[in-house]
Each structure stands twice: as structure tokens, then as C-alpha cells.
């Protein structure tokens, strides 16, 4: 009995240790900072595009008036948006310009942590205003990034904040951070959940089971940006692409944690999402998903790729 208790205690101590290593090991914030640049750029562009018809999509009346949307959302207090309360067009434009600036600051890394907090509040505000209506997967991924960027030191590298510190003579190295690790782990796990449920939903589809779904996706004229209808003569290729997509999505949450399989899993992500971006016209969504996959890059890899360019920019700006 004593032996069993000791074994259980040993197991629990080991599990707690592994849990601590997984979540609370300090890490170089390079990956998080790189994601801030990419996600910040995506948030900036996504929201800049609303400017083309702001009143119609986000305004009080427009395509789908706020009252109608609130009715569909069930008038829940927790479904919130600053745009539910803005009546005048000039007020709408003021908030919109402020929002676009916040996302620009987030991308550039100016007042990074504050920009990240405002960025999250504003991204959710826009998303709730257009859900349902004009939202799609991109808004979900944008809000996911905005949520987790708030948690870590996303401006520690590759940011104007860092350059500002250097100009003031603060040349101390960037310290490893536990909160950066937490933020990255949350993005990774959230992505695993996204793929798992996307794969499970596809299992219910007859065309995904039959191996023809990729055809029906590329044969959609409204989505099509680059024709892939030549696939009509290649049913085996369509079948392979369909089945690989389903199995890859289903097992992503397991395979991506294995360091030998991770490169394969991530390269499939590149092919799938670049395919969506190139052939189905969803460049923004495809890129946003790819950015999320980059959360699995080691900080050392990110630094090897990004530091030379970042150093050159910093040198120019700091003299």
C-alpha cells in the first residue's frame, strides 16, 4: 500500500514538474515578438479595409442595423462592442481612426503592451459588430492573436519600444520571460483545438469522406482566385488532398508536439494555407493561419531569420 501511495506521489510530482516546465519556463520572447509584428500587420490591414465602407458595415444602420444584430445575438450583456453605442458618423470615424492607429502601433511595437490591450478590446468590438453578417475565420484568428499578445512582453524585440530603449542607452539584453512562454503555449494549444474541431466537423461531411471535398472547394467560382479546375482530370490527386487535409487536421494536436514530426506537420500547414490563399482568394485568412503555425518555431530559429533585418533597421534608426 505504501508503495502504491509512493508511486502515486512520485507520478504527481513528476506531472507537476512537467507542467511547470511546459508553462512556466522562461523563454526568449523572440517568437512572441515576431508574431506581434505579423498579427499586428494583419489586424491593421483587416481593419483598414473597413474604411472602404465603414458606415455600411460598422455603423448604427448600414447593411445590418445594430438592433437587428443585437436581436440575433440575444441581447446578452457579454456580447459587447463599442459600436453598439456609437450613433454619429463622426464619432464612428474617430473610433475607427483610433483603432487603425492602435493596430499600427501594435505592428510597429510602439507602446506595445498598451497597444495590445486596446487592440484586443477593439478587435472584439469589430468582430461582435459583424457577427453574424460579414465575419469569417479571419476575425476569429485575429481576436485569438489579440487576446494572447496582451499576456506577454510582445514588444521586447522587433519594436520601436526596443529601439527607443537602445537610443536612451539601455543596451541590456532581452531577458527570458515566463509570460512570453505562457502566451506562446496558449496560441499553440488554441491552434490545436481549432484544427481538431475543424477535422471533426469535416468527418461528418460526405464529400470529405468520399475524398471529393477539395474539388468542390476549388470549383467555387466566387472563391476562386487562381483556377485549379485542371484537378477535374486528376481525381486521385483530389482524393489525396482531401484525405490528407482531414487526417492532418485531426491529428495535428498530437503530432505537432513531436519534434521529429513537427517539421512535416508545419510544412503541410504551409501547403494547405498557401493553397487556400492562392487558389481560393483567402489570402488574409491563409496567412493568419500560417502566422499561428509559426508559434511552434523556436525563439533561436526566429532570431536567426529576423535578427539580421531587425538589427539593420535598429542601426539605421539609432544611428
Amino acid at each position: 500500500m505504501k508503495r502504491i501511495v509512493a508511486d502515486i506521489r512520485s507520478y504527481l510530482a513528476e506531472a507537476w514538474q512537467a507542467w511547470n516546465l511546459f508553462w512556466f519556463s522562461p523563454t526568449d520572447p523572440a517568437t512572441l515578438c515576431f508574431l506581434r509584428v505579423l498579427a499586428g500587420a494583419m489586424l491593421f490591414y483587416t481593419h483598414l479595409v473597413w474604411s472602404l465602407d465603414l458606415q455600411a458595415f460598422i455603423g448604427q444602420k448600414g447593411w445590418l442595423p445594430v438592433d437587428f444584430i443585437r436581436g440575433i445575438q440575444g441581447h446578452q450583456w457579454s456580447v459587447w462592442s463599442i459600436f453598439f453605442y456609437i450613433e454619429e458618423p463622426w464619432q464612428l470615424w474617430c473610433v475607427h481612426i483610433f483603432s487603425v492607429l492602435v493596430f499600427l502601433f501594435l505592428m510597429l511595437g510602439l507602446f506595445s503592451r498598451t497597444s495590445a490591450i486596446f487592440g484586443f478590446l477593439l478587435a472584439v468590438s469589430y468582430a461582435h459588430r459583424v457577427s453574424p453578417g460579414a465575419y469569417f475565420g479571419l476575425d476569429k484568428i485575429n481576436c485569438m492573436f489579440a487576446l494572447y499578445l496582451m499576456l506577454g512582453p510582445c514588444g521586447a524585440r522587433y519594436s520601436l519600444d526596443r529601439i527607443w530603449r537602445l537610443r536612451r542607452g539601455d543596451t541590456s539584453p532581452v531577458a527570458p520571460s515566463t509570460s512570453a512562454n505562457l502566451a506562446i503555449r496558449l496560441i499553440q494549444l488554441h491552434l490545436c483545438i481549432i484544427y481538431l474541431f475543424s477535422g471533426l466537423a469535416k468527418l461528418l461531411g460526405e464529400n470529405w469522406q468520399a475524398g471529393s471535398a477539395v474539388w468542390w472547394a476549388v470549383a467555387n467560382y466566387e472563391y476562386q482566385s487562381l483556377s485549379a479546375t485542371w484537378l477535374a482530370s486528376w481525381p486521385v490527386l483530389v482524393g489525396l488532398a482531401t484525405h490528407i487535409t482531414v487526417f492532418w487536421e485531426l491529428f495535428y494536436c498530437c503530432l505537432v508536439w513531436n519534434r521529429h514530426l513537427r517539421p512535416i506537420v508545419l510544412w503541410i500547414a504551409v501547403v494547405v494555407h498557401l493553397g487556400i490563399a492562392m487558389f481560393m482568394g483567402m489570402i488574409t485568412f491563409g496567412l493568419a493561419m500560417l502566422f499561428a503555425n509559426l508559434s511552434f518555431l523556436q525563439p533561436a530559429t526566429v532570431r536567426r531569420w529576423v535578427d539580421p533585418l531587425a538589427d539593420r533597421i535598429a542601426l539605421k534608426l539609432t544611428g
Binding site: A13, N20, F24, A56, I193, S198, M282
Partner: protein, 248 residues
């Protein structure tokens, strides 16, 4: 992973009392106080459960019991199934209750949705075609969305595509609202909006050189006429179609 295996191996060979010592030593490399780590661990578990629960609940459906005999009338003709909230249906209790528990948190963080990208099956696109008329009945504006010639850049086009696609989810009322908006935008007195489904072609049809945008591939699902001040109801032709890419 390798590190964990090593430590597991090391502990298996050592005295059962030792893990406590090992644990405290390994934790010394982790900077936060154990109380903080416990607290944050609890929050992490709650958050990840919430993130998991939303798509889980949305991907589950109620089911009829095995061997259920559908109701029939006196002639043996099958009657419609009972409504999905009736007691005959078995509800997925666990995901429903969990999502209800986390509902406000999920709403606040914009997490209360699924991830059904192009699932369960890719479907044809929806389009909205419109005509706006002045008080004399002359057409003053016409167009459709999505429309690549009119909506640029691609993301702006895609927003219009979603607007048309989600008509299916929002029901008839959204079509009327589009008609009203177009009337106001163009200063018209009446408008006609067609909700159109663009059907997909099979590989064989494409091999036979039928163009993807052949006229025969467009089907009008509903037509909505709106006059300034009136509230005419649309006639819905078919059931709403799935929204590719939108997810739930």
C-alpha cells in the same frame, strides 16, 4: 520531451521518497512563486476548457434513441419528427451545460464559436442581386455582391461574400434589410433583391467545358421587394444553404 523522459527514468530508479526533493529542485528554475503558479494553472485550465467547450458544443447534435419509431398517421404515412427540444431527443448534456457555464466568458473574449472551415461539406456560394427604382419605377441602380469588379481589395470582396452567404443563417429579415439599405444608399423609392445560389459543377461537367459561371448554375432562392415604408415579406424558395468558410 527528451528531458521529461530522462527525468522519468531517473525517478524510476531512485527512492520513492526522492521525487519531493527532485521536484523542489526542478521548480527552482521556474521563477514564479508556487502559489502564483497554482493560481495561474487553475486559470489556464479554466480558459482552455472554455476554448474547447465552445466548438465541442457547436459540433454536437441531439439524437433520437436507437430503435426509435417515427410517428405516423392513421394511413401509416410518416409524420414530421418531434421538435428538437422535445424530450424524445437525447441532448448532449455535458457540452451544453459546460458551454452555458462559460457562456459569458466566451462571449467577452469572442471565443463563442466553432471552427467548421468548409465543413461539413463545401457548398455553392450565395449572391445578392439588386435593382433600385425611383418613384416613377425607373431603375437607378443595379448590381450584385459579391462582385470582383466592384469590390476591391479581395478582403473587401470577401466581406460582401460573407454578407450574402450569411443570409442563409440570418433568415428572410436580412434580405429585407439589404433591400432597405440599398434603397437608402441610392435614394430610391423601391428595390428588388434576389437571393441567388450559385451551384457547383462536377469534375465531369468541367471536363465537358461547362464554364463555372454558366447561367444554368444560378438559382434564385428568394426574391424580396421593398418599397419605402412598406414591410413586404420575401418568398423563400429553398432552405438556407451552408456557408463555406464561415464556420458556426
Amino acid at each position: 520531451m527528451a528531458k521529461n523522459n530522462q527525468s522519468r527514468q531517473g525517478q524510476a530508479d531512485s527512492d520513492p521518497a526522492e521525487p519531493k526533493k527532485k521536484s523542489s529542485r526542478s521548480s527552482s528554475g521556474v521563477p514564479w512563486h508556487p502559489v502564483w503558479r497554482w493560481l495561474i494553472s487553475l486559470l489556464l485550465i479554466l480558459h482552455l476548457t472554455a476554448v474547447f467547450v465552445a466548438p465541442w458544443d457547436l459540433s454536437t447534435d441531439p439524437a433520437l434513441p436507437p430503435g426509435y419509431v417515427p410517428p405516423a398517421d392513421a394511413q401509416g404515412k410518416p409524420l414530421p419528427l418531434p421538435p428538437r427540444d422535445s424530450t424524445v431527443w437525447q441532448q448532449p448534456v455535458v457540452p451544453r451545460k459546460l458551454r452555458e457555464f462559460f457562456r459569458h466568458y466566451l462571449n467577452l473574449a469572442y471565443l463563442n464559436h466553432g471552427y467548421q472551415f468548409f465543413a461539413p461539406d463545401p457548398a455553392g456560394s450565395n449572391l445578392i442581386r439588386y435593382h433600385v427604382y425611383d418613384s416613377g419605377g425607373a431603375e437607378i441602380a443595379a448590381g450584385q455582391f459579391p462582385d470582383l469588379d466592384d469590390q476591391w481589395p479581395r478582403l473587401f470582396y470577401h466581406r460582401h461574400m460573407m454578407l450574402a452567404a450569411q443570409t442563409g443563417d440570418m433568415g428572410e429579415e436580412s434580405g429585407r434589410l439589404y433591400a432597405r439599405h440599398l434603397m437608402e444608399r441610392h435614394g430610391g423609392q423601391s428595390s428588388r433583391v434576389e437571393w441567388v445560389l450559385h451551384r457547383l459543377l462536377s469534375p465531369q461537367q468541367v471536363i465537358d467545358e461547362t464554364p463555372l459561371d454558366a447561367e444554368s448554375t444560378y438559382v434564385v432562392l428568394a426574391e424580396i421587394r421593398e418599397t419605402a415604408g412598406s414591410t413586404a415579406n420575401p418568398s423563400v424558395g429553398e432552405l438556407p444553404v451552408a456557408i463555406p468558410g464561415a464556420g458556426r
